[in-house]
Amino acid sequence: MKRIIVVGNGMVGYKFCEKMIAKAPAGSYHITVLGEEPRPAYDRVHLTSYINGTTAEALTMASLSWYKEAGIDLHLGDPVLKIDRAAKTVVTQSGLQIPYDILIMATGSAAMVPPIHGVEKKGVFVYRTIDDLDKIMAYAKGVKKAAVLGGGLLGLEAAKAMVDIGIDRTYVIEFAPKLMPRQLDDAGGAVLRSKLSALGLKVHTRKHTYQVLGKEQITGIQFVDESELSVDMLVISTGINARDELAKDAGLPTGPRGGIVVDDYMRTEDPAIYAIGECAAHNGMIYGLVAPGYDMAEVACTHIIADPLQGAKNERTFTGFDMSTKLKLIGVDVASFGDPFLTADKAQHVIYEDKVNGVYKRLNVSLDGKYLLGGVMVGEASQYNNLLQYYKNSMPLPGALDSLVFAATEGDKPQGAGISALPDGALICSCEGVTKAAICQAVKDGNESIDDIKACTKAGTGCGGCVPMLKDLAAMTLKTMGKEVRKDICEHFTYSRQQLYDLIKLEGLSSFEEVLEKHGTGDGCEVCKPVISSILASTFNEMILRKNNDTAQDSNDRFLANIQKGGSYSVVPRIAGGEITPDKLLVIATVAKKYNLYTKITGGQRIDMFGAHLSDLPLIWKELIDAGFESGHAYGKSLRTVKSCVGSTWCRFGLHDSVSFAIQIENRYKGLRTPHKIKSAVSGCIRECAEAQSKDFGIIATEKGWNLYVCGNGGSKPQHALLLAQDLDSETCIRYIDRFLMYYIKTADPLTRTATWLNKLEGGIDYLKKVVIEDCLGKCHEWETEMQQVLSHYECEWKAAIEDPSIRKRFAHFVNAPDQKDPTMEFVEMRTQKRVAEWQ
């Protein structure tokens, strides 16, 4: 058995172990790993997430038990001090002397600290290890002003981290005239600078730091131009130095800019010693990224296993690496690839600059206009993956370049349309070196979810930048196999919402527990419970709190009210069409006063009463129901309101009686549960005062009848509703709505509004018209009957709840003190009403 020693348990050293264990015949090698840091290899690329709360454990590449199971001897916190090449042994700090047949140097690099006076003072740090971050975070507690030395990739990441830690003012000090001098051209650097200022970072370029001020502890920094900046902390991030000191001491050649010199097989001058990762210098180049390091691990590993003495020939060599980069975590998209600096004699430029929104893009295209040679993106880089593929695979560019420069907007062709054009050999995951062909093959072999693909190919497990492409590739491959993309609702059910809907209906399952028992695993969760409860309600419309279904409801449905900040609830009675009598207004006023509720008119033309204690809900509703009110279902994924304008009864422009029609429709569909909430409106003429075209279904009066619009949305992504049918009489209009809603209920993904559902529906509105109007699926009659059935089961949920003592008893804050209210609830006064005290 050959003895391998790996010096350094960083990302690349670990990757080497992983690859050896996977590739080498069992029992042929024994691996010992000697690491300087106190913990096993962790994901240094995502080091900054440690500051935002990711634990050291979560960053760990593999647990200690992995090394144990793999038979690897792991010694941590014990750096190697000396290599004796003649005796083929290494000596560690703790005095271990271990022999090797093959030695792997994976010592990475250290943060470079420029020759500045006073860097040894307290409050000066580097940014490389978890220990560094622990120290920074501990020191930062009282710090108000910090500076980061270095405006490159890592410096900016560190600077953003300082902002995230909560330091009031962070400066970035850069020696060069612009930020990210190695990746960005002047214009890109300028846009980045203005973006960073918006994030609260102060940028100083052309600043040559001379010394750190302060006695024992830093109080500021002084520059060569004698200007000073007062800061309480300094993080140095000016570059890296390969850790080649051990190798140098052992007489191995190092490169002019440092790094242990290696050949194409990652071998040093000594054939028994390899160097991989950031400590290696290949053709004079040091690669400060993880992807080339992983590639080196692969090359060394194959070369070792395919020992020429054993007759095998090995073709795998290291041939350099693309240094394209995308900056992560900074809050500003920045990317550069290929050669970003090519001048006009070598390339044509496509330049886009939007100073208003801070976006700058530059593509360098070959002089013949056919190929992409490089580029820079600041402010918006969603096309990075796509462009990188054009560049790396030398793919001919499409005629019009705007689709490459601009992000596809919603409603356009789905992203990833270009992915089928990529050659099989295209590198999709450059961290792990996984090609398009390998990913597609994994999908064909049955790894259909992203998690499975990651586990099988390792693609997407490095920087994660290629995950969107993995999704597109999986979808594309499954489609070519004639398969649907898996849409399992969660880990407990291997079904999509649509499949579950069909099963529940077919088998007549009526409670969550039944469905879980027959088709699921475990106890369910906060994802599948509401989905299945909603399907049950859409199908049978049985009072949702019966049959022990109460705890399977989304939290708001469980208490038939919306929980508000502080833990109180809101009460919203139905006011169909927004029409209400003065007497009923009086009732609301009386109840609100009695229970001390804040009142507000909602956007859906009704009145919301806030601040109710859980135990008051049944009392409040009792009074409302006695006065003729019903539940407004404001808490449910169900029909909310049908808004109306005043219509022809009062309005001089009105064509039809929009209020009466709105009331009719609201009363028809009230209580109907749907994949997401639905809203509607009826306008009496084309002036559209009810804003029907922003609703899930909206109706506008015409000279001849009603126009029916569908799939509109207000909210965060407004979308105009589209015309489904014109000049309908009231009866036909309702019939079309029945069909439309049934089709939506049956086919939508969980929590998908009608607008998004339509956007994903193949064939779009034209197909929807065929389904609803021409009945191309031959289902319309069935759906209308089903709708009739579901609607006929309507009952006011609140009436049912207060009449059933076993349900009513759940409306208590304390199970063992049902009369007491939550004492922690706090209200303050605002404009003579109450409001909740702020989040803590």
Binding site: P38, L76, G77, T521, T551, F559, V815, N816, T824
Partner: protein, 137 residues
């Protein structure tokens, strides 16, 4: 029957409620002095869990009103806060939504239809990482 005869010592256990007061697969809130404790019953596995009622995310007294469920191959029990759906393990009290929150969890026992919650939170302090590693090297 008097539960002290059953061996429940009043020093360490608090009588919370009757088992039938707690919904299947859901929670209730128990008042213990000034403390609020969320008590959950998982009917399928016939298991009881208790935790603090306060969600550490935005300090809401809400966990008892959250949806319960399980996660992972070992079906670890959890609860999701109704406010922003942060989930917490009912075994360890760890936040499962990728944040560092930790809630207190308490032992529960049921005797004669009475549910008792232990005064002493379950300890969930694991050995510190670096100590583990030092032991190896």
């Amino acid at each position: 029957m008097n539960h002290t005869q059953q061996g429940v010592d009043r020093e360490n256990w608090f009588l919370a409620c009757q088992a039938e007061d707690v919904p299947h697969n859901g929670g209730v809130c128990v008042k213990r002095g000034d403390e609020q404790i969320a008590l959950f019953y998982f009917a399928r596995t016939n298991q009881w869990y208790a935790s603090q009622n306060l969600c550490p995310h935005r300090h809401q007294m809400a966990l008892s009103r959250g949806m319960t469920g399980s996660v992972g191959p070992d079906q670890q029990p959890k609860v999701a806060c109704p406010f922003h759906k942060k989930t917490f393990s009912l075994n360890s009290g760890k936040c499962l939504s990728g944040e560092d929150y930790q809630i207190k969890v308490y032992p529960v026992k049921v005797e004669d239809g009475n549910v008792y919650i232990g005064y002493q939170p379950l300890s969930n302090t694991e050995p510190v990482e670096t100590q583990q590693f030092a032991a190896i090297s």
